[in-house]
Amino acid sequence: VRVRSFFLTGTLLGVALALSGAARADDSPQRSARGTVSVSTSENAAPHDTQRFDRTAYTPDQGHLDVGIESVEFAPLDQLTFGTYVPTWLLTPLLGAPVPTGFVKVRTPFIGPVVASLRANVIYFSGASLRSQFAEAASADGSLWIVPVELAVSAHPMPHLSESLELMYVGVTGNGDADGSTTIRGSAAATSVTLSSLSELRVNSAFAVTLMGRVLVHQDAVSVQGNATSDGTQVDFDLGVRRRNSFVACVVPGVELDFGKAHLDLGLGYGSYWLPVVELPLTSYGLVPEANLYARF
């Protein structure tokens, strides 16, 4: 698997998300207008009605279905949410094969001032979907797994202020081969850890301001093993690919707008852009947009 295919695949997803108006595929936003919800034994830990769920430890209420341009998710329990990413399915015609995605999020009960959650995401690219990454190849096969795992902690230090920290681990592993002018077979793997902070200040029931910060705290080199044959020369390689710049971060101020069941999150900041869904940061600095639109039923 070419290293570039990792990033091209992620970039493809990012572009698709951008076109669809979504910038972050994670947790869909259900803020709760959650009537019955959020059982709390601690006043400080309970989210208020319009608390957002992405990059926080909060979860939707039991039985709620959220449908957004980023994801569709359902909460069979207050502490448990299942979902899938919408853009990856929309890429099926482009990639020639579906890209299955899914996630599950569990959180602790509200037993104190702080609530925590764990969320595991899985994105799988089959050989068929990877084939489009080898446009010059006569044939290609393989698979690519991307597994972001997020540990989040949230608290309400003040009634209208929510503060959340999230630590995200992203594991990437893949293998594959492609036959063309150069025959390639190999595998690759990488890991990264990102720390995020989200502050949410609710002005009223229809409007809130947010400030998100993200920093890459660790990233292993991408490890690439494989072999290739080019013009008679056979090459077995074992390489590590490391990011050149050591400081990768972004700051994104934004707003939340609520219109009954419809919700819109918008933000524009500066720094490195984390590719949606795959949660791998780009190296270059620039404007960082955030957008999400969703409805809750």
Partner: protein, 297 residues
């Protein structure tokens, strides 16, 4: 208040432990033997030749006939390095954003892209004392193709550059055995090879500088060991240029020139010969009948 499920909290401990494994990415191998002094010796010959001696040297080398283009296996080393470099560049992509380290093992059949005749005959036309006389030319004439012959090299990649020095071997390949005191011999055999590229080579960049090839533990196909240390002051070393010419560091006194030091004889694929000393370069026609001098700038 709904009943609270506590099973999720166990996941907070177990899942991070399961995914916390790090990718063991390869690093660059330690640098190989330093041949930079030997390499530089070809750039700075020390002798100052009398005009009369130049033609003597050129005529002597011309008597050896036109050596095979690219000098067999040594010429193929350039192709091996170039092919490998392009493969690694293709595999790691996005080079401006990432640093690549690791190793590659490259193999190339000695017959790949062969421009050499299937029957290789040792050329030994020594005009004077011939330290390769111990080699019976008839013993190293090999019939048929070298279908089993192969070049194998370990190539280190450090900071997105192919390391300057490479180690490898030639098995049943056509080898050039130059001599500081005699004409080069082309033989079929095996040897350990060390290559100096002149400088580290950026991934994806063209190999343009001459490469220095040092052969040790040379063994002819009949099992005869060849003492390369006796062949030249620095062992069996030649430089192969981008156009397939061979450069040999020789002692002009061997050819009757009354001077000390070294000169560089270049054998071009068209049969013409260059002789470079401390002052400049003589370009001699095929056969060495006439030579024209151009002073070094």
């Amino acid at each position: 208040v709904r009943p609270k499920s506590h099973w999720g909290s166990k996941l907070f401990v177990t899942v991070p432990l399961l995914v916390a494994g790090c990718v063991d990415a390869p690093a660059a191998p330690p640098p190989q033997a330093d041949l930079s002094v030997d390499y530089a010796a070809f750039d700075h010959p020390t002798a100052v030749l009398p005009d009369a001696s130049v033609q003597t040297i050129a005529t002597s080398f011309a008597a050896a006939g036109t050596l095979p283009e690219g000098m067999g296996a040594f010429g193929l080393i350039r192709k091996l390095v170039s092919d490998t470099n392009q493969v690694l560049a293709n595999e790691t992509g996005l080079l401006d954003q990432f640093t690549v380290d690791g190793t590659a093992i490259a193999r190339l059949p000695c017959t790949a892209g062969a421009t050499t005749p299937p029957i290789i005959t040792a050329a030994s036309v020594a005009p004077s004392d011939d330290s390769t006389a111990a080699l019976d030319p008839s013993a190293i004439v090999v019939g048929g193709d070298a279908g089993t012959g192969q070049l194998t090299f370990n190539i280190g990649v450090e900071n997105s550059n192919v390391q300057r020095t490479l180690r490898g071997s030639a098995q049943n390949c056509q080898l050039v055995l130059p001599s500081a005191t005699a004409l080069p011999v082309v033989t079929m055999g095996s040897a350990d090879l060390t290559v100096d590229l002149g400088q580290s080579l950026a991934l994806g960049a063209d190999l343009t500088l001459p490469i220095l090839v040092q052969a040790t533990h040379v063994q002819a196909v009949d099992g005869t060991s060849i003492d390369t240390a006796a062949l030249a002051p620095t062992g069996d070393e030649v430089r192969v240029t981008n156009d397939g010419a061979i450069q040999i560091l020789v002692q002009p006194s061997t050819f009757g020139a009354p001077v000390m030091g070294t000169v560089v004889v270049t054998l071009f694929t068209d049969g013409s010969i260059g002789v470079r000393d401390q002052r400049g370069v003589w370009s001699c026609t095929k056969g060495g009948a006439s030579c024209a001098f151009a002073a070094s700038s």
